[in-house]
Amino acid sequence: MSPSNIDLPQGTLDLLILRTLSLGPQHGWAISERVQQISSDVLRIQQGSLYPALHRLERRGWIKARWGTSENNRRARYYELTRAGRKQLEVETDAWRKLAAAVAQILESA
């Protein structure tokens, strides 16, 4: 683990997963790789939290899973956003932006 990565704040994991899946269906491993890549290795999702989160999102009906074939020709479980999930992503993105802006404002003014 690189010393530069930080713990994910509560609730952000769902947002990251939803955002990653908004680009297209992915399996679990790819999701964690993609997040790590895009965040330039700063954010790293622990598998221990990734899979329970995926199952929870699936239970809520925001994503759905189906079995597909991976790039290296293996059976993998692909997740994709549902309509409800897309809506949820908008809501959460919006909420996150507001939160980030507010936090930034406070940090700068202080």
């Binding site: 598998q47 899979y51 993998a76």
Partner: protein, 886 residues
């Protein structure tokens, strides 16, 4: 929400598939991770190590994913359930005792609840039955009195409170002309709105209309479904045909559907139920200005939103108006009572007492179960301590123990329901014949729900304390204490003692209840009824046919019949009279007494009867003064009267009143006076009434008006069963067109008259028996547990020279403290609760010292006996083994 449920359901139902999918998914991730490292040029061994490191605990992730499925509660509960089943199987003795006692008590509760749910909770089988009311007259002398028909007609015309208002009166009829012997049928005469009041419609034909109430139009009849099927082969074209009733042709205008329940009535009463065979129109005859005769009963359907109280005030206002027009109508008030209360009101208290009694049995069973569980929890402390030490949460332990107790309770509940189903059938056969709605009682859906709830509540009630107690186990101490015997913790033993005390005291309460009821029942059974019921056959014969139109003709028939019956071998006396004791007969009249004036607002009144010369001899009613009637007391002879002792004492203050005179005429001439020639002993009005009301008898040959039917009383020497056939034969020899009804031995009537107190006693007695057994088991359990814990102490004592008796005394004195405390509390509690029984017991004080003392002694003896076995065991404590066990 819905997808969520579906998802959880799939995870639960297709658990294996979901598990293997999860496995594959995680495997894929793991492999991809390794591939990545290998691509980066890391050697395979190292890649494997790094992947494992990054992955964390494989099982932990799976567990978290399962958690995310939202099914873990159910799954772990299922685990607990399997575990609980194993626990029960591993300890079958414990399981059997606890499940059986619970099954018995839950079953008893369900059975009593079946009765309550069918009798009290289910609405009556009439649409909007809450709006149906019964209407009576009331005065200071007669709290509930039938209506005069002409008064009714005025009420019907002037009142605004009712959708429909009707009167009805008993009108049994004799059916002949069908293939079999003539039969007496239960019938009622009804006015036009009767079935509209009940909300019922004929399945064929129509209800009577107003024109049927006119004199001359009364020869119409509506049949019950049963009569239509049994006597007329369910003939679909029966409407308009004529049938022979009371030797007259009646036109069938309707057939009621099955389940047409008679709403019950007071005057010539027939209990609520489907016993009525036919209905004929009530016709208004006689002078509408004469309103002294009261023999019809009111029933009405209130308009929506009108209360019985409002209807009563309206009728009272109308009655006040009528009172100014007709002298007979002064001084009467109206009484409007909801039909529901009329039908089930009397049995309500008894049923609630029974429910209270079974409720107590259940509480005792709960205390018992809690006690057994507590004892076992102590021996399981080690197991619980290990689980706690291995990281089980306390809430999980409580849950697991609760699931165990719930499992026990539900097994008990299921068994109990099976017992209740059988028990309810037995219960219904035990019920008094006139018990309302008895045929509607069965185990129904509400009973299932009740049993389920009671089982769940029971399981939580007896499981919660032991479970919380067990979860308090300190892992260190638990492991330690489990390793060697030690005395149980103080708090725990105090709790167990409290449970035993409450078991004993509740059992005490129930036994006292049963004891009071037994005393009351014995009082009723051993009561001198005022007549001799053994070997006494009774029957009813009505003479509806035209050849008996005059009183002379009718009495000639009864006289001949009595003489013929008296000649039958084995018959001592045969007589006839207006009625039999204890069959609900209650005909009253006011009267004038020579030389006396009634107090203002009061009047002389008495119940009237008719008797033939041998009526009293056959019934075994003793003659106190004067003489019985003779064949010479006919209409041409001086008018005579026999009175009972109650009447003599009430109006003359002495029982020797021979020669005193009374009359019914307000301006009597010399010939209108009736001279008292005999005084007979009192016959209690009902088996449980404190005494007799004033009553008198006319000589049957001097009766002022004819009775619908007369009762036969035949005293025989042996009570031979063939006598019933002989009676039918004698009647038919005189007239084959007559029906003989109500053939019954008087001792059966007497037996039936105490059916309600007997029913209550049998049930409360059963419950009390169960209670004392449970309490004995509970006491035995606690004492033998404490003995087993103190084995080493007893061993030491024996080693130091204690005698057997000393050890027994030691154990028993510990037990005695609990038992005496329980008994004392029980007696005090019973003293308070027995007041509830006041109206249910006869001639026994609710604080009857005999019952209290004997029950107290009995409880102490039984409980001490229960402790005797563990005490004996204590004396056998072998000092060597006891010390080695340390």
């Amino acid at each position: 929400m819905f997808t969520d449920l579906l998802y959880r359901l799939r995870s639960l139902v297709r658990r294996r598939v979901v598990e293997s999918e999860l496995n594959d998914e995680l495997r894929f991730h793991f492999d991809s991770e390794i591939d990545k490292y290998i691509c980066q040029g890391i050697p395979r061994e190292e890649a494997l190590r790094r992947a494992r490191l990054a992955f964390g605990g494989h099982e932990q992730i799976k567990e978290d994913c399962r958690e995310a499925h939202g099914t873990s509660f159910v799954e772990t509960s299922l685990q607990d359930l399997r575990y609980a089943l194993r626990q029960l199987r591993s300890n079958p003795g414990f399981a059997t005792v606890i499940i059986l006692t619970l099954a018995l008590s839950i079953g008893a509760n369900s059975a009593i609840f079946s009765v309550i749910s069918s009798v009290l909770l289910k609405s009556l089988p009439y649409p909007h039955s809450g709006r149906i009311v019964r209407i009576f007259l009331t005065s200071s002398i007669y709290p509930r009195f039938p209506l005069n028909p002409f008064d009714f007609r005025d009420f019907r015309a002037r009142s605004e409170s009712f959708d429909s208002f009707a009167i009805y009166t008993r009108g049994d009829m004799q059916l002949s002309g069908t293939s079999t012997e003539p039969v007496r049928l239960y019938g009622f005469q009804i006015t036009s709105g009767f079935f509209r009041v009940l909300g019922l419609r004929p399945q064929l034909g129509r209800e009577f209309d107003r024109s049927a109430e006119l004199p001359g139009n009364g020869r119409q009849v509506i049949l019950s479904d049963r009569l239509w099927r049994s006597r007329f082969a369910a003939n679909p074209h029966i409407i308009g045909t004529k049938i022979t009733l009371n030797a007259q042709p009646f036109t069938v205008v309707g057939v009621m559907p099955p389940g047409t329940e008679h709403p019950g009535n007071d005057y010539h009463s027939l209990a609520y139920g489907d016993d009525v065979d036919l209905w004929s129109p009530f016709t208004f005859q006689g002078n509408p200005n004469q309103r002294g005769s009261h023999y019809t009963e009111g029933i009405a359907r209130l308009k929506d939103g009108v209360t019985p109280g409002q209807a009563q005030s309206e009728l009272n206002a109308i009655m006040a108006g009528l009172g100014r027009e007709y002298t007979n109508d002064a001084n009467w008030q109206l009484l409007v009572v909801p039909l529901y209360r009329e039908i089930v009101g009397a049995s309500q208290r008894m049923l609630f007492v029974l429910l209270g009694a079974v409720g107590m049995v259940l509480l005792i069973a709960c205390a018992n179960a809690a006690n057994l569980l507590l004892a076992r929890a102590t021996t399981r402390q080690r197991e619980l301590a290990v689980r706690l030490a291995l990281g089980a949460s306390r809430s999980r332990l409580v849950r697991q123990l609760l699931i165990e107790s719930l499992l026990i309770a539900f097994i008990g509940g299921a068994l109990g329901l099976a017992m209740a189903t059988a028990g309810v059938k037995a219960l219904v056969t035990l019920l008094p014949a006139d018990f309302p709605r008895a045929h509607e009682i069965h185990v129904s859906a509400p009973v299932f729900a009740f049993t389920f709830l009671v089982s769940a509540a029971t399981g939580i009630l007896f499981g919660l304390i032991p479970a919380i107690q067990a979860s308090r186990t300190d892992p260190r101490r638990g492991l330690h204490e489990g390793g060697r015997t030690a005395t149980g913790s103080g708090r725990l033993s105090r709790l167990r003692n409290a449970l035993v005390i409450s078991e004993v005291s509740l059992a005490c309460v129930l036994l006292i209840g049963a004891g009071l009821m037994l005393r009351s029942l014995l009082n009723l059974v051993h009561l001198d009824p005022g007549f001799r019921e053994e070997h006494l056959l009774t029957a009813t014969v009505a003479l509806p046919n035209p050849e008996y139109n005059s009183i002379e003709q009718a009495e000639h028939f009864y006289e001949t019949l009595s003489a013929n019956l008296a000649a039958v071998p084995g018959v001592e006396f045969a007589g006839t009279g207006s009625d039999l004791p204890w069959t609900g007969y209650d005909e009253n009249t006011s009267l004038n007494i020579e030389g006396k004036q009634p107090a203002p607002g009061d009047e002389f009144h008495a119940r009237y009867h008719v008797a033939s010369p041998d009526y009293f001899r056959a019934l075994g009613i003793p003659l106190l003064h004067g003489r019985f009637f003779t064949a010479a007391d006919k209409s041409s002879a001086p008018l005579v009267l026999i009175v009972n002792r109650a009447m003599a004492e009430k109006y003359w203050g002495t029982d020797d009143v021979i020669g005193r005179r009374v009359t019914w005429d307000d301006h009597p001439k010399e010939k209108d006076w009736f001279r008292i020639v005999g005084v007979v002993g009192d016959v209690k009005d009902k088996p449980s009434s404190p005494g007799a009301e004033p009553a008198f008898w006319w000589s049957s040959l001097q009766q002022p008006f004819a009775f619908l039917a007369e009762s036969l009383v035949i005293r025989s020497t042996t009570g031979q069963q063939t006598l019933a056939d002989a009676v039918r034969e004698q009647v038919h020899r005189l007239d084959p067109a007559l029906a003989v009804a109500d053939v019954q031995w008087m001792d059966e009537i007497v037996y039936g008259s105490v059916a309600t107190p007997r029913f209550a006693f049998i049930l409360v007695g059963l419950f009390a028996g169960l209670a004392i057994i449970l309490a004995a088991i509970g006491t035995y359990g606690v004492i033998s547990y404490s003995v087993s814990r103190r084995t080493s102490e007893f061993g030491l004592r024996v080693a130091l020279g204690a005698q057997r008796l000393d050890v027994i005394r030691l154990v028993l004195s510990q037990a005695a403290r609990l038992i005496l405390a329980g008994t004392a509390i029980g007696l005090v509690l019973a003293l308070a609760l027995a007041q509830v029984l006041k109206n249910l017991i006869y001639n026994v004080s609710p604080a009857d010292p005999l019952t209290f003392v004997s029950v107290g002694l009995m409880v102490v003896v039984v409980a001490v006996l229960a402790c005797y076995i563990p005490a004996l065991k204590a004396t056998r404590a072998n000092p060597m083994i006891a010390l080695r066990a340390e």
